[in-house]
Amino acid sequence: MTWTAQQQQWRGDRAILLVHGIGNAVPGDYASIAETVKDSVGGNGSPVAMYQLYYDQVNDWFSSKMQLSALLTTATRMLATRINDPELGETLAELVGDVLWPVLLADARAAVREAYLLQLKQIVDDGVSAGIPARDQRLSIICHSLGCFHTYEALHHAALFPSHLLQPAAHGVRFENVIFMASPVQLIRTIADAMGSLVPNKRWLYTVQGDTLSIPRQAKLMGGEVSSVQNWVSITGNLDPVGGHFFRTRADWAYMKVPGETVAIVQPQDGLGISTKAQLVDRFRACIRDREPPQITPKDPHCWESYVTSHAAQLHTWLA
């Protein structure tokens, strides 16, 4: 069945896109997160159009045709070496390894990015249909885990290629907020760099471009630059390896730090009942499933729902 973008009727001038992370999400999943976000911007009476990007259907096309276990094992081993902790390394690498596979397949990256861009275009078009020109639309994205990688890639591509009509200067498409939760972008950058020539089509892998990670922007014809994102927020937890923390220790090679970001929050995850490395390993080992994405539950440090719930007040401030 062909992938289709979500379409909504706008009642106001705002839209929020939720982008999930690793998992086998299907339309209808993460409804509670959408509810929490909606509540934080005023509940059902709020004139905010809510969208969710479900891209696993596109991922499935590739996983059923490609078998890259040997390469993924190589990537996971590199990750374990980088984590450099005999107690944590193997388990956390196995958990985090699931975010690495799009790096190995140029077609998979391009297809998910295209689905993402189509969804963004549909959002802007829905806004225009409701009488709000792109330059006056108030757009926000909240993404989690692997969804942060796809967001980073899609926004950079959109800012670079005029053919999508999503450029911040030429087309007035700017995002009021992009909120990254437990972002693996820096971790993917480090491992992709380490894998060197094993990574295909690196030229169009924005995560590895430049001296550092960056906020996408576009140069204007008459001089000056316009950023795609006004409020770039990064949130992670100090027990979340996907967000670059290995048992309360921040690893600079894995933690996403973007010059110019507006807010960076590292949330202490003390309420999860994890006080030793062994407990953390046990908690994540319970999530890992053979040949399937990990199953993350609210008691795990990587849980998206927990991130959203515990930052509901800040979401209200940013998204209001």
Binding site: L68, A134, A169, G172, L221
Partner: protein, 317 residues
Amino acid sequence: MRARGVWLLRSALLVGIGACTCAGLLVAQPVTARLDSAAMANATVGTLLATAAAGDSIANLRMTSPALHARLGEMRMRLARAALHPLPLQSVATGRATFGVVLRRSGVTPNGVELAALDTLARLIEEEFRDALRPLIGRDGTRQLLTPVDAFNAALRRQSMVASREKLQRFERKYGPGAPVRNIAEVGLNYVAQWVPGFGPNAEGWPSRAELIASYVPTYLIVPREGVTAGAATVAEVGARFYLWKAGWGQSVLRPGYVSVGAVVAGARDGAMQSPFAGASRFGGFVGWGNAKVAVIGGRNARVLVTRQVQLVPWVL
């Protein structure tokens, strides 16, 4: 100068929106004025030029930003051909996507220089007018003045959405549920092929048509003829598969989603599950039309073979 700007603004709005709705437009706008869909539909190259002239005048760009004033003037000169002015911007956007088919029907086709000038003009207005005009004519006045730009960009964006859907359909044809399944050797080969021009996606994200084939096929049937009896044959295939993107293809035997071509090698003996490299090898070629494949093995023991694309053991053969 400001009076002339307001006059030009009114003119632009009159052209774009129509006199019946324009009276008092700038006098009493509701705070939440929205884009006028009729004005969007009626926006033409002429209204875009009028918008540029009005904004230039209102913001007094000749004095405040001579470089922008000059650039706008240059673009307006390039779009001076009067025949272009009544062209609806939506048709121009659609025409670009259909290589001018729509525009040729209207009898007027902008040339490459004019299309580029139109893009640049729309971009200059979007990039420079918003901040310059809002303090002068307010948010709603700016929104109305810039309606032709919004109409142009919205039409182009819809064309771009059509292109995105097409890209996704192509990816699905190549990788989705109905696509031929790769064996482990093909996974490796096609992984390496990502570095070969023509095999990976291009910069705009369009997938490549091509895919490499390297498979052991024990399911060929020998076509009987004089001196040759029907039976099974095993070959090794090396070649390429090319996906057909044409609309309506990929759904039937007559109009399949891909074709394939390549070389085959068979062993000295016919039969299922034989080694294609045992004894004196026989060489030939194959062509595929969707799932149906025909191979010809040459030499003294020439054979014509037929089979259907199928993977018996996942990832293997």
